[in-house]
């Protein structure tokens, strides 16, 4: 009997506690109004066809977006949500599309390579030409996407051509300078530039270039090639620059 009474008391007390605590909690945390479903993240694609043209030729830029209210392409401006356009740049260009909608933003890029008209073969034109002039004519810099240090698939041809030159001239010593655009911190960009320079170094060594020919240095964002705050300028600065000789 006594036990039963205690049980009852306990039950009543815990019920009271639950009611009181429940009451308190309600006051602390008013129930939120039912949340509207979040607006969908916009989607965008951008492509260029063909991906490589001779200088003077044209290519077709095609894009499509979903759930975007405003769509812009750098260098072209505001465009329809879906469409295409003929382009004829004189140098290789990375087209960058930004789609903004209630659910956020998304961007897409497409790169169009412009092949310059074939120059007269440098070796034939000036057989006595100095090594550094030859270097300047033959070796091409490589460029990077934002905050990335992996080589773009399209740059493998550049690396192969550069590697062929370095293998044909095993006495040449050269420096790979890693560069970054002006955005972000000084220190982080120095480390990123180092990763970029070493990405090219690793690719060249893999292609058969002697490690003893190569020196790497990172300048981060300390020695930009171009000083405007535009995407085309930033792209110029996100590069591995090949320099004849080793300081």
């Amino acid at each position: 009997m006594k036990h039963r009474k205690m049980k009852w008391t306990l039950l009543v007390l815990s019920l009271a506690a639950i009611v009181v605590i429940g009451g308190c909690k309600k006051k602390q945390v008013p129930s939120a109004p039912p949340a509207a479903p979040p607006p969908p993240q916009p989607r965008a694609t951008l492509s260029v066809s063909p991906e490589s043209i001779d200088r003077g030729g044209t290519a077709t830029l095609t894009w499509s977006t979903q759930d975007a209210t405003s769509v812009t392409i750098d260098g072209i401006g505001s465009v329809q949500p879906n469409g295409s356009q003929q382009v004829s740049p004189s140098t290789s260009t990375t087209y960058h599309l930004t789609a903004q909608g209630p659910g956020g933003y998304v961007d897409a890029t497409a790169r169009l390579t412009v092949v310059p008209p074939p120059a007269t073969p440098p070796q034939a034109a000036a057989p006595e030409e100095s090594e550094d002039a030859l270097f300047a004519q033959s070796v091409k810099d490589i460029y990077f996407d934002y905050d990335r240090y992996d080589l773009r698939p399209g740059d493998q041809a550049t690396i192969d051509a550069d590697a062929a030159f370095f293998k044909a001239h095993p006495s040449i010593r050269f420096t790979i300078e890693g560069h970054c655009d002006e955005r972000g911190s000084t220190d982080y960009n120095l480390a990123l530039g180092d990763n970029r320079a070493n990405a090219a170094r690793d690719a060249l060594i893999k292609a058969g270039v002697a490690a003893s020919q190569i020196k790497v240095i990172s300048y981060g964002k300390e020695k930009p090639f171009c000083s405007e705050s535009t995407e085309s300028c930033w792209q110029q600065n996100r590069r591995d620059h090949f320099v004849y000789g080793q300081k």
Partner: protein, 439 residues
Amino acid sequence: MKRFVVLAAVLFALVLPALSQDWIRTGTGVGGEKIRLAVADFKIPSAEADALDKTFNAVLFNDLHQAGIFDMVSKSFYPLAAIGAPADVRLDAWGAPPPNAAMLAFGNLAVRAGTLQVQGWLFDVKNAQNPQVLAKQYRESATDENARLIAHRFADEIIFRLGGGLSGIAETKIYFISSRTGHKEVWAMDYDGAGQHPVTRLGSISLGPRVSPDNSRVAFASFFKGGPNIAMWSLELGRLVQFPSFGGTTLSPAWSSDGTRIAFSSSRSGDPEIYVCDQNGNNLKRLTAYHGPDVSPVWNPKTNAQIAWVSGRTGLPQIYIMDSDGTNVQRVTDQGYAVSPSWSPNGQFLAFAWVRHYGPGAPGASDIYLMDVASRQWVQLTHDGGRNDFPSWSPDGRHIVYQSTRGGSEQIWSMLADGSQQTQLTFTGSNSQPNWSWK
């Protein structure tokens, strides 16, 4: 079991309001209510000390205002009668409105035979029986610089006495990078921006200066020998001193608070990683091993048992912390572009630069944020536009110095650690990467 659930519910109900409190205030507003402080202009016996007196009064008032712990009584509220000694003070006039001061600093300043003599007092205005809290005397040769120095010392005495026992920062320095000479060199200035002068003249690119805890050396990264490497400058000798060259891209040296070790980033292995070594470069030890940039390490100055740094191992840079032996790695930011951590002297907070929503067309600039390390809760301290980066804590943990482009060019600014009292310190050329001295 039920009791446990109830207990948990009660605890939760108790913790909720505590979490919603302004936790930054509790971190920096030591002593609760701000003390209402009046600072009477120091009296001069003759007009010859007029210029020094002007400097002294301006610096003293500014130091106490910048301290962030006083409600400064506007000088227009002061009684007209000048006071130079305790006998001149009428406590009832200072303690009643309009000044309504709780504390009063006053004194006199004289130049005798080329020597600047200053007497200063601090009175508790509401304690008529025994008002004197502080009485100090200073003597230095009579220069404008020494008038500033004495004002800084007297201000620090008052702040130490009334500010919960934390030393003031009026005598501290800020090291930074300036391109005023055409090259990025290490410069130094007083905490309030006075006395800006070059430290190095290397004619190269120097970056990220960090002064040693004993104020004897400055470590920084420099290109003067080719690629960026750590350079060590002796402030006592006024020249570079020996420090090993680790190769690769080596940068962002950071002192442990006991001055015995240095953490830094180096790509000597072919990939930028975090290393620690002794202060002379010995006992090199690598702490990180992921591919991608690892940079900008800083020690927890309270314990020297943890290091915060920036890693790009998952893409855009984020802030991480680990134990100083490289174990127990944790990521503390979850989005955007987070760089430049600085650990508060009490070990509780990380200040860092963050672009929270990063990407083309995304809103938001690089701003300074503060994170409570234990709870990972953060607040935004700068909102005024421009790119804000490289926060560095003052030794009292009440102030943060940082760089900002909000005025058009890159300049050094300081603020209280709650984001108030933003003050521009540099105005000439381009100035960046400030580092507040340890004392």
